[in-house]
Point group: C2
Chain length 161, copies 2
DNA sequence: CTGCCTGCAAAGGATTTGCACTCAT
DNA sequence: ATGAGTGCAAATCCTTTGCAGGCAG
């Protein structure tokens, strides 16, 4: 017998459960739409996918057909604001979303960075510390605090060279 | 007596003249629209401005009112393709354009990089070598060739801290 | 209950495209 | 003359918003 799809499920990953808890403790409401969005993002993370709002919308629609596209955008906005979800602006085209990295070590405070191949469009995760030297210089020379997570660097990936 | 606005002018900067020459030698045609776009970009560069396509369009309209918005986009696309103009994708919002940096020393091959304040929107130019360590790591570890010029890094500028 | 969230539809900004025409070469 | 470039309008893509009703708390 299948489980209901609009509430907690036994298959929910610890990370998902934590995300929901964090959302709740931020005073945000747990709705079927938001649950579905989080579940989609959690599943995507396991396969290292980076989904656009539209892709998230269509996957959400599989589980919760009644959820409107606009609601997905609004849900994502709320989730981002709370910090449960991060979004990355890709060059020119749509933004992609994923669950915010949780820090095993609370030392460095940032999630992973992204690079995108302008040829094939693929998004590649890179360790956050790769931008550390850049962040340091910007801080020292310009007083600029770099958000290493927020934008994708563009270039050409190995396969497209 | 004013000079005509649809052809070379005595006030045209050497850099503009070179850009036009390069455009011509690429087999592209020199039209009033393209001339006007280049002139706007040249003027903007002198004041360290980064213009969006729309801003370029309205400035072009002052000199050449008959030039259509769509033509500005198409002109910019051609200019970018030829390499005379570079465009930078800013976080989420519109792309900005500027004349491609010319290299005094042909050693390093890249123009300047950009960072943008997500609070006030300001775009700051930074020396291209700031991304060199990042480019090196991406190349070595992923075979990814970084286009240091193409995307803006996001963060918070000193004034908005 | 109360108001945060939602569904719907419609607007919005940025950019692109189909088509016929025009002008740089 | 000939096709690269253009003007125009309409389409596209991604996202946001106004409003009335609905469900989480």
């Amino acid at each position: 017998m299948p489980e209901r799809e609009d509430g907690p499920r036994s298959g929910d990953s610890p990370r998902l459960v934590r995300a929901v808890a964090r959302l709740r403790s931020s005073g945000e409401r747990i709705t079927p739409a938001r649950y579905a969005v989080l579940r989609v993002l959690d599943a995507a993370d396991r396969s290292d996918e980076h989904l656009t709002a539209e892709q998230i919308g269509s996957r959400v629609a599989e589980a919760e057909p009644s959820v409107h596209r606009a609601t997905v955008y609004r849900s994502l906005a709320s989730l981002v604001e709370v910090g449960v979800v991060s979004h990355v602006h890709l060059g020119g085209s749509a933004a992609v979303y994923h669950l915010t990295d949780e820090r095993p070590s609370p030392a460095t405070a940032l999630g992973h960075a992204h690079v995108q191949c302008s040829s094939c469009g693929r998004v590649i995760d890179v360790p956050p510390d790769i931008l550390e030297p850049v962040a340091a210089r910007l801080r020292d020379e310009l007083g600029f605090r770099l958000a290493t997570t927020h934008a994708a660097l563009l270039g050409t990936c190995r396969d497209c060279t």
